[in-house]
């Protein structure tokens, strides 16, 4: 059974003059215990809105979210507090998500105190442990966020997420602000921690290669809908949805560029339309090279395709 189960989730944002923007349009997604699941998509596709909805930071207008059998959207008071103690988030910009006026030690101690993880006397020792577990040193507790480099700040962000011993962590673009050499350090750290502590991991990123490295299963999102889902290897080697294929083709990959000179890959045409445009049919149809009239009229359902994958396309590639 899945630890997290999202069904048909919808999120609408109210725009001026009574208009509505549908940020999530019927998203279903599941994460099993100790599983690492990727969510990829371009800016504006709703990745971060989904993260917000799961952690009850954004209010959905329809659908359900179940966590360990409990209806997350119905949680109140103490139960909601408990839920927030089990689920944590790692953000993209570690500087923006750390209080500049709190030393790293006090920021971490606050998490421990709020969720009553350990007694007051043990807190300092626990902070030291946390910092060491993310590759920093105990003495760093006395310093402030501005005294750290970007990579170190992300380590602090990770330590804060780990402070409450969460069962479930959502990482929203945790390495996209970092340089390549530092990015690899942080990815390896997250991978090691996930394997050691066995938390469930929803890894949100726009970089397909990073997701492949981190996650065995992946969901591909476009304009507030899941376009394709399945084992990362399967999805990457035989993309069923034209959007997935376009996305993969667009990645400037070293191996492919060196090997595949003269191969025919062209960038998809057009750009992601505005969510408030309310297209009929398949959201990808204006950019799809295989578009047929049915795609403009009827939104395709999520269908099972070969290799245990799911694709939302009228004409999935075999």
């Amino acid at each position: 059974m899945s630890l997290l189960e999202i069904n048909n989730l919808r999120v609408d944002f109210q725009l001026p003059r009574g208009r509505k923007l549908r940020a999530l349009n019927g998203v279903s997604l599941a994460v099993a215990k100790a599983e690492s699941v990727g969510l990829v998509g371009e800016s504006g596709c709703g990745k971060s809105t989904l993260a917000g909805a799961v952690l009850r930071l954004v209010k959905p207008s329809g659908g359900t979210i179940f966590y360990a059998g409990a209806d997350v959207l119905q949680l109140r008071g103490g139960k909601l507090f408990e839920f927030h103690g089990k689920t944590q988030m790692i953000f993209q910009d570690p500087y923006g998500s750390l209080n500049p006026r709190l030393s790293v030690g006090s920021a971490l101690e606050e998490c421990l105190a709020v969720h009553n993880i350990c007694s007051r006397d043990e807190r300092q020792a626990r902070v030291g442990e946390l910092l060491r577990s993310v590759g920093l040193e105990g003495r760093h507790a006395a310093r402030y966020p501005h005294e750290f480099s970007g990579g170190q700040r992300q380590r602090i962000g990770i330590a804060r997420a780990l402070a409450v011993n969460p069962e479930f962590i959502i990482a929203d673009e945790p390495v996209s602000a970092l340089d390549v050499s530092i990015q690899a350090q942080i990815l390896n750290l997250l991978k090691e921690l996930q394997e050691k502590k066995k938390f469930s991991f929803l890894f949100i990123a726009h970089d397909l290669a990073v997701v492949r490295y981190m996650c065995a299963r992946v969901y591909v999102m476009y304009l507030g809908e899941i376009m394709e889902a399945g084992a990362t290897d399967e999805v990457y080697s035989h993309p069923a949805h034209p959007y997935t294929r376009a996305l993969l083709d667009a990645v400037p990959d070293i191996d492919r560029a060196l090997a595949g000179r003269g191969s025919k890959r062209t960038a998809p045409e057009g750009e992601t339309p505005s969510l408030s445009a309310h297209l009929g049919g398949c959201p990808f149809h204006p950019r799809c090279p295989f578009v047929k009239s049915v795609c403009q009229e009827h939104a395709p359902e999520m269908k099972k395709v070969a290799g245990g994958r799911f694709s939302r396309c009228h004409f999935p590639a075999p």
Partner: protein, 332 residues
């Protein structure tokens, strides 16, 4: 034309280089010691050639790019070296000559189009500015319209009257490219031109740059942190670290047989789309503080092979092949 596989054909590249940079030093004044952002950089770009400079933040790649048209802002200053462009040393040009060169012979596309475009002027006015300055007598409206079509902006007629905020990031970058190419420059410096864009739009912009370069036969200096883009776009590449070029050569040489430990580390740290790698290797430590650079080889504190010699002497460039150079004592 495919951006990911396109390379300028070698036959265009002959004779004296269009751009030749020797021992360039760009420092930034501080109250104490100057910050040596670029410290002894050499490279050249031939007519019609695409050369990439790759490096991480703080490596000095953007300062190098800016100095080519003497655009480094104060407190930065040119502490030494020569920049030969079109048989003149840019660092010694008078301001009037420099103004004639900027935008006309050498032009730029920057990372963030929304902050490079002026929010209060229309697209037509901003593209037209370069035309009015450098190509007197040309029909600005007609030429702007032609340029917008050239960079693939649909509905160009109406877009002439658009303001930057009415365009998407990809469209803004297309406008920037139209501006940069308005005067048919001999050299286009593209400083992280697609870093702010989504991956599908990035592919479109790279394709566009490759196509236009082919059509105009201009040279492109591509500044990027993305080795995948280098692999698809550049004929040659220089790898920068701490204000120096630590390795340079043909793209194939650098990406398939890198000699410098930094280049090797960087390549090993890039996640690949199709590889079964279970563990990526990473480079330990961080980029050194430019105020207090280490002695000897600037990479030695992070280098797995560092020896006493590396701590004491900064390595000079050594020849790997006719086209491949590396600054490492122990590259063999």
């Amino acid at each position: 034309m495919n951006a990911q596989t396109y390379k300028a054909s070698a036959k265009n590249i002959a004779g004296a280089p269009l751009l030749s940079v020797h021992n360039l030093r760009v420092y930034f004044r501080t109250r104490t010691e100057p910050i040596r952002a670029v410290d002894g950089v050499d490279f050249n770009v031939a007519n019609g050639e695409t050369v990439a400079i790759v490096g991480e933040s703080g490596s000095g790649k953007s300062v190098t790019a800016l100095s080519l048209a003497r655009l480094v802002p104060a407190p930065g200053y040119y502490a030494g070296g020569e920049i030969w462009f079109n048989s003149a040393d840019t660092l010694k040009l008078g301001l009037d000559k420099l103004q004639k060169m900027r935008g006309a012979e050498i032009s730029y596309v920057f990372q963030e189009p929304s902050s490079s475009l002026n929010p209060v002027f229309t697209v037509e006015y901003q593209i037209g500015e370069a035309l009015r300055l450098h190509r007197r007598g040309v029909n600005v409206r007609e030429e702007t319209f032609r340029l917008l079509n050239m960079v693939g902006i649909a509905d160009a007629k109406n877009r002439l009257r658009s303001y930057p905020h009415e365009l998407s990031g990809g469209m803004q970058q297309r406008v920037m490219i139209a501006m940069a190419l308005a005067c048919r420059p001999k050299l286009l410096v593209a400083d992280e031109p697609t870093t702010a864009l989504d991956v599908t739009v990035q592919a479109q912009i790279l394709e566009l740059l490759a196509r236009l370069q082919h059509e105009f036969g201009m040279a492109v200096l591509l500044i990027t942190h993305n080795l995948g883009i280098v692999a698809g776009m550049a004929r040659r590449v220089s790898v920068m670290y701490a204000g120096r070029i630590v390795e340079n050569g043909l793209t194939e040489e650098i990406l398939t047989a890198p000699k410098h430990p930094y280049t090797r580390g960087l390549l090993a740290a890039v996640p690949r789309l199709y590889s079964a790698e279970k563990r990526m290797s990473s480079i330990p430590g961080t980029m050194p503080d430019p105020v207090s650079l280490p002695t000897g080889c600037k990479f030695h504190p992070r280098c797995p092979f560092a020896a006493e010699l590396c701590r004491q002497n900064e390595p000079a460039e050594q020849t790997v092949s006719e086209t491949h150079g590396v600054k490492c004592h122990y590259w063999k």
